[in-house]
């Protein structure tokens, strides 16, 4: 089968393992494409894609836009700062107006959980969730798992620790779904206040001490502290957080084994990672960014082709 089971990418939760593997195999081919002298293929030349970002983004928006352009799609960009959303237009009206201009696919980021799911019930275009609140960020999880597969030769049986602000992280949830579906062992690690209650019901281990998590894992995926989503104080100070949970190059070098260091970006240097750790040979942070384009090309290609 070379078709996804879904016509939207709303979250990893609704994907099957076969879907994820198909996306990876397709992304392998697109990774070769984006390393060619001419990095472009004509597959989506009759497709128009709207990138609708109701929340700030640099990496994800650029990565999607580049993926779309490498596939020869026509691209329109929209962000709330300069739009009629400020004048009180509803989400559905905004999107329907964009679709009236004959748009085939929508890539959307929204601060509200479930916004893309809501849209998928009301519009015909294919929807790709580029992050909905604290819920899911499927393409990030796919590129993270793809990067692990590339670096370690596979995901099955590998031990992955997700470290940091698990409570506010859509990356964490999507990563847990993706990694579990691919047969990895997953641990979440962070201060107890930043670990959601009942998260172990998803089949993940919970650890409060970062040193123990690092000793256990093959891959450490370190997340940013999302101060913008924190309504109350979850820990005394950033300085204290970085003292107890920050990862330095020395911590990594002192481990008895090699581990792979990942971060979805943007990094708060000196908080969750020191600069020397982020730039060390353990880190595959920039590979993740490159793989992001290939993985997003695969997702767009497979969704657009299944019409």
């Amino acid at each position: 089968m070379s078709k996804l089971s879904q016509r939207h990418l709303l979250g990893i939760k609704n994907l099957t393992r076969q879907d994820i593997e198909l996306i990876f195999e397709t992304a392998d081919n697109f990774k070769e494409v984006i390393n060619r002298p001419i990095k472009k293929v004509p597959s989506l030349r009759d497709v128009t894609i709207a990138n609708i970002f109701f929340e700030n983004s640099t990496r994800t928006r650029l990565s999607f836009e580049l993926a779309e352009k490498r596939l020869s799609a026509d691209v329109i960009n929209f962000s709330t700062s300069n739009s009629s959303v400020k004048k009180g237009e509803t989400l559905l009206d905004t999107v329907n107006n964009i679709l009236a201009m004959k748009v085939d696919m929508v890539v959307m980021r929204h601060a509200s959980v479930g916004a893309p799911h809501f849209l998928s019930k009301h519009i015909k275009a294919n929807i790709v969730n580029a992050g909905d609140g604290t819920h899911e960020h499927p393409t990030q999880a796919l590129l993270d798992a793809f990067s692990i597969r590339e670096k370690l030769g596979g995901v099955e049986g590998k031990k992955i620790a997700i470290i940091g602000d698990i409570l506010h992280s859509r990356v964490a949830l999507s990563n847990i779904f993706a990694l579990k579906k691919l047969g990895a062992e997953v641990m979440v690690c962070g201060p107890p206040t930043l670990i959601p209650k009942f998260i172990s019901s998803l089949g993940v281990k919970v650890e409060w001490e970062v040193q123990k998590a690092l000793e256990w894992c093959d891959v450490a995926n370190v997340l940013r502290i999302q101060l913008e989503r924190q309504q109350i104080k979850y820990f005394p100070s950033l300085r204290e957080y970085s003292l107890y949970y920050g990862i330095t190059k020395k911590t990594l070098d002192d481990l008895k084994k090699e581990i792979v260091l990942m971060h979805p970006g943007p990094i708060n240097r000196g908080v969750e990672l020191t600069s020397d750790a982020a730039d060390s040979h353990h880190s595959i942070i920039l590979d993740q960014v490159e793989n992001g384009v290939a993985v997003r090309m695969a997702v767009l290609y497979l969704l657009a082709g299944a019409n």
Partner: protein, 180 residues
């Protein structure tokens, strides 16, 4: 379902030898020639010919795989998107003589897509097409092959099935299949 043999193992070998001799005739020492097998099925034939040429001209000719999936013109016009395969061209094709190899030439659309895909790697001096089976009178595009193993006059409803040992079959055999 009726099956008729087009080429058996022995005849196929003779045909491949003839195709190799034709290539040698046109490309002499192969100093400026590269071979590209078309994914997914043309690569097995390309490997067979590559191996034969190696013993005949005592020279390693660059061999690559070209996948044209992302350049196809039927994307979004069929239910399931075609599955891509690996493209591997670890050499420059700029100013080279490229021999594209596929198993069956049918509508010509794959070859059109392949030409498009190939251009992303440079501008060859010359491009030629070698196919094992040329299905005459089913072409959608003005494309013809330079080297042909066997011409077969077929209906669009019929199918050519290529079974090669390299693909896991017991014997090399080419079949013409009538669909009921």
């Amino acid at each position: 379902m009726q099956k008729k043999i087009v080429l058996d193992s022995q005849l196929l070998d003779i045909t491949l030898n003839r195709l190799c001799q034709q290539l040698i005739e046109a490309h002499h020492d192969f100093s400026e020639t590269v071979i590209l097998g078309l994914q997914p099925r043309g690569i097995f034939l390309a490997e067979l010919i590559h191996a034969k040429l190696k013993t005949l001209v005592k020279k390693q000719i660059p061999l690559g795989y070209l996948d044209a999936t992302f350049h196809r013109d039927d994307f979004r016009r069929r239910d399931v998107p075609a599955k891509a395969s690996e493209t591997r061209i670890p050499f420059a094709i700029e100013n080279k003589n490229v021999v594209l190899i596929d198993d069956v030439l049918f509508t010509g659309r794959t070859v059109r897509a392949a030409l498009d895909a190939m251009i992303a790697f440079g501008r060859p001096a010359k491009v030629e097409l070698l196919v094992l089976v040329d299905r005459t009178s089913t072409r959608d595009l003005p494309i013809s092959a330079d080297y042909v193993g066997k011409y077969v006059d077929t209906l669009e409803s019929q199918k050519i099935l290529v079974e090669l040992v390299a693909q896991g079959h017991k014997q090399n055999k080419i079949w013409l299949i009538n669909k009921d």
